[in-house]
């Protein structure tokens, strides 16, 4: 009965059987010691429990060695084959597969050629798993679909299948299936399904999806059939792995205003002092700006720095910068890349009106342990990753400054006793609980601490932890349940003067529970829905005397608490080849909760402290104020031809948590504030249209997007606003509206050697206060440019691979100077000369230009070296242009003088060393 399926060995389908991790041993009762391999194989096959697959030539001279009986087949074969080149594997179905050299990784079902593939697929898909190939060394084997001897052959056949993510089991949308011989291909739909009409023949087919390892199949088509492929995480090998973005994604995707950068690209960009900066790299993208070179926070399409939702692995981060904006607080070694949503914000995100910056954390390597690190003038970092067991992976990364060394270099006497240091730490564990269930837990901590003159300290800390439980209900329905806790706090203490020594604390705690589902009812629809609930708890300020002598008045502002609940649903519908639409609705209900004392103001009077006429008390848990409403997220794509499409989108977002700062950029002591009775939630409406075109066989991507944005309930600050320890913030802000519009042009080159992009953005952003009282107005209620209104912004990024070991990259930026308020005259007051300032933001600093270069040198590519190393030499601001960071004016009473400050007024050269074990 046993058939030795030599050639058919190549026809097996490998079924990834997720439950096969526990080996079931097949017990052999008889002792075959001394008998031939073939004899045993025939014998056992006839008993019906086991099937053997091998070349008959291999085993001719092999004699079974079996010391005991009964024993498992594994034991027997281990003993027998120990001194040979042959490896074996026994799968759950009792199939024993021999191979030479490398063992075939567990768990495949071997199907002989007589069985039609369609049937096999039927049986295997019924177990819930696709037909997959995970091993690269097997991808070169031939898959034979159909029986060559079958009488019913048609020259035209159909190849179809599903492409899924090997780890999550989720279908991969937009995965590319490319047939080398035909120089053509197709992409999967939202259910991960693809199909192609082809002629009989032999084909090499590659399966690709962004961020995942490309997989290749050689297929001999005699009849139509189904080939399912699961793509695994991209494991960065020393060998060159070319990750090609979806070639046509730009044109085909219904979303617009989405930018993605992989960590590989980010690392190619020239760095400042060797710090690979995740958030700053986003500044090179169209529509993303910042106020100054050395400033935290980004401004997306004319939105404020607090209007961006920054997520790491799904958990929000409230202060994403180290050292007051010097670098972003994410270690590059643990980041996969990011997506930035500027206009089509998917319905599952909410809470910020400008953008979502989703930073993807790496998963640990599931094959081997790696240790890597890097040393730059500012920090050193180290990352370890690997499999804990065959179902659990782990990655952890830490980074720290050597602050004393840096401060020692600073020739400044008053700071000899000063210290500045920061660290961050990230870890992620992902485990497969069962066949369709994953648990994914990650945490992120960042710490900054400064000590000045030994008597004053300032420290801030981010901490978050997120647990995701993923379950595939079926091929078409996936769910994720997430629990998120995120907090941010800072504290200042000073002993400069015992009498006024103090401690100041601020803290925000954010807790979220979320259920998200993704459902593909058919090939044309992709439905996402879910709900979440967020609890906010803020301690806006606790100010306490520090030393015994201190006479400072303790101030403890009431905690701010709120609950925000949301439900959402969206459908992405491919109406036809040309037309696709995305429609989403999100409903949020926000309740600001007591206990709370709310000041009452005299009606029909400006919002001034002197107009407080009473206080309304709210009890614990009582709803002080409620806001809510629908948010629309829609977009539409129409394909004009294969290489061209037009898109339009309309988006509404609400934001219940805003940041208070009346400086040009987010200051370290800026605090987050919940919407309350007087500070209303911001609402942003954005409409955008764009045209997307791929040129030169997809080597060039061109896009032009225009947007118009309207923001309601934006706040700005009155002159001399006090934001710290203020329990009536509403008297220090003015309410108003914002509007922004712009055009973004992006030309992107994707190549093997030369990559990069050119972008130009024209944008305006303005604010207008809305009040009938002059006290509650800025610039008499006229429209004026916001602090981050930079109309022209040009950036160029290019990197060129000279060889496998050497690459160069360069970037260049030009932008209009930001608006500033400067003195227009002087006047005499209190016996001194004082400065009379202009209306808000009537002037601009000079235009900015910067050119950076870097050279990356990889160590040699010998595979088995103990450590792989690389060097990176970067030059920041090659031309040494003194870009104006700020202009400022000082009058000591006798004379007034204006100054312009440049922070990096000369080229900064840095050498960074990276290693990996």
């Amino acid at each position: 009965m046993m058939r030795i399926l030599i050639l058919i060995m190549m026809t097996f389908f490998m079924v990834l059987d997720l439950s096969s991790q526990d080996k079931t041993s097949h017990v052999v009762d008889e002792n075959y010691n001394g008998r031939s391999f073939e004899e045993m194989a025939r014998d056992l096959s006839e008993q019906g429990e086991l099937q053997f697959f091998y070349f008959s030539g291999w085993v001719r001279d092999i004699t079974i060695k079996q010391s005991i009986a009964p024993t498992s087949i594994d034991e027997i074969l281990t003993e027998t084959l120990v001194d040979t080149d042959y490896k074996f594997v026994v799968n759950d179905n009792g199939q024993v597969i021999l191979s030479i050299g490398e063992a075939i990784k567990s768990a495949f079902t071997v199907v002989d050629s007589a069985d039609y593939v369609d049937e096999v697929v039927a049986t295997t898909t019924s177990t819930g798993a696709g037909i997959t190939s995970q091993l690269e060394n097997l991808s070169t084997e031939w898959i034979i679909l159909g029986d060559p001897s079958s009488p019913e052959q048609k020259p035209q056949v159909k190849l179809s299948g599903y492409v899924t993510n090997i780890d999550t089991g989720e279908p991969l949308e937009g995965a590319l299936i490319y047939i080398e011989e035909l120089k053509t291909g197709t992409a999967t739909d939202s259910a991960g399904y693809y199909e192609m009409d082809m002629r009989q023949g032999r084909y090499s087919i590659s399966y690709q999806s962004i961020g995942l390892k490309e997989s290749n199949r050689k297929i001999q088509l005699y009849a139509g059939g189904q080939v399912d492929v699961a793509l695994g995480e991209l494991v960065l090998n020393i060998e060159e792995v070319v990750v090609r973005a979806f070639k046509k994604d730009n044109v085909d995707n219904v979303q617009m205003g989405v930018e993605a950068l992989s960590i590989e690209t980010i690392k190619e960009l020239p760095s400042l002092m060797g710090e690979v900066d995740i958030v700053r790299s986003a500044l090179m993208l169209p529509g993303v700006q910042s106020v100054g070179e050395f400033s935290s926070g980004i401004n997306v399409r004319g939105g404020g720095a607090d209007q961006n939702l920054i997520l790491i692995n799904g958990a929000p981060v409230f202060n994403a910068s180290h050292l007051f904006g010097f670098s972003s607080s994410f270690s590059p070694d643990v980041v996969e890349g990011f997506e930035l949503y500027k206009s089509s914000i998917p319905v599952k995100y909410g809470g910020r009106i400008s953008s979502v910056l989703e930073i993807d954390m790496k998963e640990g390597d599931d094959e081997r342990w790696t240790l890597r690190g890097g040393i730059s003038p500012i920090t050193s970092r180290i990352t370890a990753e690997g499999p804990i067991n065959d179902r659990t992976t782990f990655i952890a990364s830490g980074r720290a400054t050597y602050s004393d060394w840096i401060l020692g270099r600073i020739q400044n006497a008053s700071f000899r006793n000063s210290k500045a240091n920061y660290q961050d730490f990230t870890a992620r564990v992902k485990t497969k609980i069962a066949k369709n269930d994953f648990l994914d837990v990650s945490t992120y901590v960042s710490n900054d601490a400064f000590r000045l003159n030994g008597d004053t300290t300032f420290a801030y800390q981010n901490f978050n932890v997120i647990a995701n439980y993923q379950h595939s209900f079926s091929d078409r329905l996936f769910g994720t349940l997430s629990l998120i806790h995120s907090q941010y706090r800072f504290n200042v203490d000073s002993e400069q003067q015992p009498l006024t020594s103090f401690d100041l604390f601020y803290k925000i705690r954010y807790s979220e529970a979320k259920a998200h589902f993704s459902y593909a009812p058919d090939e044309k629809h992709q439905v996402n829905y879910g709900l979440n609930i967020v609890h906010y708890n803020l301690s806006p300020g606790d100010f306490q005397p520090k030393l015994n002598e201190s006479v400072v008045q303790p101030v403890s502002l009431e905690n701010e608490k709120a609950i925000e609940g949301s439900i959402y649903i969206s459908d992405q519908w491919e109406v036809s080849d040309k037309l696709s639409v995305y429609g989403g609705l999100r409903y949020t209900l926000y309740s600001f909760l007591g206990p709370r004392s709310v000041f009452d103001y005299r009606p029909d009077a400006p919002r001034l402290e002197s107009n407080i006429i009473g206080t309304t008390e709210f009890g614990n848990g009582e709803i002080v104020k409620q806001y809510g409403g629908l948010e629309y997220r829609t977009s539409l794509r129409y394909g004009i031809d294969d290489n061209t499409s037009v898109k339009a989108s309309f988006n509404r977002n609400r934001q219940y948590l805003s940041m208070l700062f009346n400086s040009a950029t987010v200051s370290p002591t800026a605090t987050w504030k919940l919407s309350d009775t007087y500070i209303k939630p911001q609402t942003g409406d954005q409409i955008s249209i764009g045209i997307f075109k791929n040129l030169l066989d997809d080597k060039l991507e061109l896009s032009v997007e225009g947007y118009y944005k309207k923001i309601q309930n934006m706040v700005d600050y009155k002159a001399g606003a006090e934001l710290a320890l203020n329990d009536h913030i509403e008297t220090d802000v003015v309410n108003g509206e914002g509007r922004a519009y712009g055009v973004e042009v992006l030309l992107k080159k994707n190549g093997r050697k030369l990559n990069g992009w050119l972008s130009y953005t024209f944008s305006r952003t303005r604010f207008r206060s809305q009040s009938e009282f002059p006290e509650d107005q800025i610039n008499e209620g006229d429209w004026f440019a916001t602090n981050f209104d930079k109309p022209h912004d040009f950036s160029f990024v290019g990197y060129y691979k000279i060889s496998r070991r050497v690459s160069v990259s360069s970037n260049m930026i030009y932008s209009t100077g930001r608006p500033v308020t400067i003195p227009v005259a002087k006047y005499l007051f209190a016996n001194g000369t004082r400065l009379q300032y202009s209306r808000r933001n009537e002037f601009r600093v000079p235009d900015q230009f910067r050119w950076d270069l870097s050279l990356n040198l990889e160590g040699n590519h010998k595979r088995n070296k103990l450590a792989h190393s690389s060097w990176s030499l970067s030059v920041y601001n090659v031309t040494g242009r003194k870009n104006v960071y700020s202009v400022y004016f000082v009058s000591d009473g006798s004379d007034a003088q204006g100054y312009r400050l440049s922070i990096f007024g000369r080229p900064i050269v840095t050498l960074t060393y990276n290693f990996r074990f």
Partner: protein
């Protein structure tokens, strides 16, 4: 430069300094002169009315451009202070644009509210809001300490000098917001007061030139007394404290680069108990005049006070009419109070030049050149004049340094 003004504005101030330090390796500061288009002159009303027996002053001026040195003043205005009890007084213009009360006729009273009414010759009427007069506690202590201040550049030696500090305390707790100003007087050496003077004929050198000895009555003397008024804004608040106590508030730092501590120095500090509104106004003005260039600085703004234009509503008016209880304290620092080797500057640095006894060259030097005649140069043996000693005006006259040769009464 050591900033003499100091306000505890919270944790942000030093944080900015830290940021500046971190970037000090690469940063670069250059003077900046923006191009400013024409602007409209704005009226500035700067008044402070107090309860002391010294006159209170209201100054009316216009704002002025960056390229100008001094403002133009508004003369001939009618300036009235009225109280909420029905009383009022009209101020006299004592100098151009400067109007003063007569304390013999009208003095501020604690617990009363006042406001300012101004009518300019141009026909505009202005008024201030009502301001309440809060009595000031006495200055508890005014003291000094010689300290060393390290320079930012460690290659430079530290600066050594006297730090004048103030303590104040209001037991009743009525006064919470304070401002200070001060008047310094110091004595310094006038090294080369002239002993002789020249009178030239026209043209000189034709025999009608004379040298006169200067009599003891006319002699300028060997000492000058210079008065300087503070220009900085000095404020503090005890609003966030359980007690109204201020300790070690830095008033003034005196290093040895001025002659202040060469002979004798005195400082009279005026303390004002001011309203919260006035305090906030000065604080805002202070903030926008002491920006650091950090992007964490609050965005500067135009700042207006409590004066409104009644005739032309909405027209901007700068300045403030403040009302305050006032107290004063004076201290002296003598040369011997300074540690040995303090080495304060004597006075003006002087160069002497000797020229031969020739009227024409003397005329050239003192009438056309920068010098003044001080004395004869004499031969060592007989003391006969052999030439003229010339010196710089600043070494010969107190007035050149805006000082006086008259010893103050209290000296």
């Amino acid at each position: 430069m050591v900033s003499e003004a100091h306000i505890v504005t919270g944790p942000l101030t030093w944080m900015i300094t830290l940021l500046v330090v971190i970037t000090s390796m690469t940063r670069c500061i250059e003077p900046f002169e923006p191009e400013i288009p024409e602007y409209d002159k704005t009226l500035v009303v700067d008044g402070l009315f107090t309860d002391g027996d010294t006159p209170s002053r209201v100054t009316l001026s216009n704002s002025f451009g960056f390229d100008e040195d001094a403002p133009s003043f508004v003369s001939g205005a009618l300036v009235i202070i009225e109280d909420d009890m029905g009383g009022s007084t009209t101020l006299d213009e004592v100098e151009e644009g400067i109007y003063e009360t007569d304390p013999l006729q009208y003095m501020g009273q604690e617990g009363t509210s006042y406001r300012l009414l101004v009518s300019t010759p141009a026909g505009d009427r202005f008024e201030s809001s009502w301001e309440f007069l809060q009595g000031s506690p006495p200055i508890e202590q005014l003291d000094y300490e010689f300290i060393e201040i390290e320079q930012n550049d460690p290659t430079e030696p530290p600066v050594f000098g006297a730090q004048i500090r103030l303590d104040t305390r209001d037991e009743e707790g009525g006064a919470t917001f304070f401002s200070w100003d001060f008047e310094e007087i110091y004595e310094f050496e006038l090294p080369h007061a002239p002993r002789i003077r020249a009178e030239f004929g026209s043209p000189p050198g034709r025999g009608s030139d004379f040298i006169f000895e200067i009599s003891n009555e006319e002699f300028e003397g060997l000492r000058c007394w210079k008065t300087e008024k503070s220009r900085q804004l000095l404020i503090a608040s005890t609003e966030n404290q359980t007690e109204s106590v201020i300790q070690d508030f830095d008033i003034k730092f005196i290093d040895n680069s001025t002659p202040r501590l060469f002979i004798r120095y005195s400082i009279l500090v005026n303390q004002y108990a001011i309203s919260k509104e006035y305090y906030d106004n000065i604080r805002k003005i202070f903030e926008v005049n002491q920006t650091t260039g950090s992007l964490f600085d609050p965005i500067p703004n135009e700042i207006f006070g409590n004066i409104t234009n009644v005739t032309n509503e909405g027209a901007p008016v700068l300045g403030y009419f403040g009302v305050a209880g006032k107290s004063q304290k004076r201290i002296f620092i003598n040369r011997e109070d300074a540690p040995d080797g303090f080495g304060a500057t004597r006075g003006p640095s002087c160069e002497l030049q000797t020229i031969p006894l020739n009227f024409i060259s003397l005329f050239d030097q003192i009438e056309r050149g920068p010098f003044v005649l001080q004395d004869y140069a004499r031969d060592l043996l007989f003391g006969n004049p052999v030439g003229y000693i010339l010196t710089m005006p600043v070494c010969a006259s107190c007035a050149v340094s805006d000082a006086t040769n008259q010893r103050p009464d209290f000296w």
